[in-house]
């Protein structure tokens, strides 16, 4: 749901688990670890695994308002998937989701890299100021940010329109951003990029600080330009970190829901409807819970496909620590 996990998980140090041998209580001692993790396992089973399975089951049933009230949903095989996959609307939503993810992730990665390289070159005081500003942005709650952006881009009193008009773009005086699909899409991209850059930039900067200065010096002595240093020294060393952040951003942007729902509910005219928003619309507004569940399941499948490389890397990383 939020960014901290990745950073925090890096605090692990490979401390070997300790085995206590106390023969007299050995039988009980063998049960202890299982008792300790039992609440976690039960919680995950009921609040994570069960909803996930339930979603899959509903996607194979006929589940509308009637079934919601009376129960007794009948299985209909692949009918829901056929209906979803056969509709043009679904594929245009998929296309929009891919565009949404690509635009956001490319912007986030490029800007974050530039910002991280910039921070590394700053003098102490300005560096601290920029990093604090990024942390402030990162700390801004999603719903506060959506409200602020609606105010910034407000048509008559919004400061963005005032700035654009003052700069000479007269057509923006009183422009209603949220009435047009494309401009709403643009604002949502700006919002998500604004919120995502701090985490990526600060993490990349942390990675940059681990590169020994001697490498840069010797590259510079060899007469390498800034771009050559980045391509041949910085990027290869940080490639795993770039991979990790990119896949995390793909996941976060792809499944982004709150920002879109709070600002546009997928509108106007479906111009900002991505897969998670579409699934919720179909289920909640049209009461087609079965189709919504099928779309959700397809969303998860696409996410898992995106995740496979990331998971594999994480497994290897964890394997070293165990």
């Amino acid at each position: 749901m939020s960014a901290p996990p990745v950073v925090a998980s890096r605090q692990d140090s490979p401390a070997p688990p300790v085995v206590h041998r106390r023969p007299r209580r050995s039988r009980l001692a063998g049960v202890w670890p299982y008792l300790l993790v039992a609440p976690t396992v039960l919680g995950a089973a009921y609040l994570l695994l069960y909803p996930l399975l339930r979603s899959v089951v509903i996607s194979f049933q006929h589940f509308r308002t009637g079934e919601l009230i009376r129960g007794g949903a009948a299985f209909v095989g692949l009918e829901n998937y056929q209906e979803v996959l056969g509709s043009d609307e679904f594929w245009s939503v998929v296309g929009r989701t891919v565009l949404w993810t690509a635009v956001n992730v490319v912007l986030i990665m490029v800007i974050s890299t530039l910002v991280a390289l910039m921070i590394a070159r700053l003098r102490k005081r300005l560096q601290l100021a920029v990093m604090s500003a990024l942390v402030l942005t990162w700390a801004t709650p999603v719903l506060a940010a959506t409200t602020i952006f609606q105010w910034l881009f407000q048509s008559r009193l919004g400061v963005v329109n005032w700035l654009l008009a003052t700069l000479g773009f007269e057509s923006f005086r009183g422009y209603t951003w949220f009435a047009d699909g494309t401009s709403t899409f643009v604002i949502l991209v700006a919002l998500v990029v604004w919120q995502s850059v701090p985490f990526a930039a600060l993490t990349l900067y942390a990675g940059l600080t681990t590169i020994p200065a001697e490498l840069y010096e010797s590259a510079r002595i060899d007469g390498a330009t800034g771009w050559q240093i980045f391509r041949n020294v910085t990027f290869p060393i940080l490639r795993p970190l770039f991979g990790l952040i990119t896949s995390l951003e793909v996941i976060w942007v792809f499944k982004c829901f709150a920002q879109i729902w709070a600002i546009s509910r997928g509108g106007p005219d479906g111009a900002t409807t991505t897969l998670p928003v579409y699934a919720f619309q179909v289920a909640q507004s049209l009461h087609k819970y079965d189709l919504g569940a099928a779309i959700s399941t397809l969303t998860v499948l696409i996410l898992v496909a995106c995740l496979v490389t990331h998971l594999r890397r994480m497994l290897r990383h964890e394997g070293e620590q165990l």
Partner: protein
């Protein structure tokens, strides 16, 4: 020399402005008198600061109630996650057992759970079990959403505490529980604190489930959902809307101020192995 650094300084300043301005604008708007907000040329400094908008926000229908709801849901979820995670983290960091590896893997996968895709089934489950429109359902979901991250972090903190300390206490005749409570727990306090604060932020900000699961009983809404319907509450009163957003952000801001050093030092200490 300083001329050569000029582009860099300008870039830094523009990043600074883009990062800070939206939040700054929120706070400034909240303090500006309405006539300044509606002026054709915006003023970038509240020359006549007023608390009127904060008064409007605080006196809005149900404001106190939604604050209470948000606090209740968030605190109960974080406390439950802390206790459950501490047990699991201890088992993972200090004991060797069959299935440990699988358990850790499960926790890591749960950390990336596609919560947004569970909205529909969670709605149906809540409805079937009479948990719709109940704050306790939100508590449960937030508990589960923060739990994996809490386990992973606490495990890291626990692993950093040498087990010899506990062993020494046990050698002196203390039981394992006593050794943990007297020796490890105090050392773990900073870890518990920062973990719970991050959990607090996650739950405090959550919107999607609060929006989907609290439908009929509007008194049980939480702050993010309330804020999302600002145009119904404040109409075009942007001063009050920004005041409400500021008040909503305040606890998170305080937490980040507390954690600021930990966050930046965590980033700079080269904690990332890559």
């Amino acid at each position: 020399m300083s001329l050569r650094r000029l582009p860099l300084t300008l870039a830094a300043l523009s990043v600074l402005v883009v990062s800070v301005f939206p939040v700054y604008w929120m706070v400034v708007t909240a303090f500006k008198p309405t006539r300044d907000i509606q002026a054709d040329t915006p003023t970038f400094w509240p020359s006549h600061p007023t608390l009127d908008h904060f008064a409007t926000a605080v006196n809005a229908d149900g404001f106190g109630l939604f604050w209470r709801n948000s606090l209740l849901v968030t605190v109960s979820a974080v406390l439950a996650a802390l206790v459950v995670a501490l047990l699991a983290a201890f088992a993972v960091a200090r004991m060797r057992w069959r299935g440990r590896r699988g358990f850790i893997l499960m926790v890591f996968i749960a950390q990336m759970a596609p919560w947004e895709a569970l909205l529909i089934s969670m709605f149906i489950i809540a409805r079937d079990t009479g948990m719709l429109d109940k704050l306790s359902m939100l508590s449960l979901i937030y508990f589960m959403a923060t739990l994996p991250f809490t386990i992973v972090t606490l495990r890291g903190f626990l692993a950093a505490i040498p087990p010899e300390l506990e062993e020494a206490a046990q050698m002196d005749g203390a039981s394992r529980v006593v050794a943990f409570r007297r020796v490890v727990f105090p050392l773990l306090a900073p870890g518990l604190m920062s973990t719970s604060l991050f959990g607090f932020i996650t739950a405090w900000n959550e919107f999607a489930f609060a929006n989907a699961l609290i439908i009929k009983n509007q008194d049980d809404r939480t702050l993010p959902v309330w804020l999302s319907s600002f145009s119904n509450i404040f109409g075009t009163d942007w001063g009050a809307t920004m005041a409400a957003a500021t008040l909503f952000m305040l606890p998170v801001l305080l937490i980040f101020l507390v954690l600021q050093r930990r966050v930046t030092s965590g980033f700079t200490a080269g904690a990332i192995k890559g």
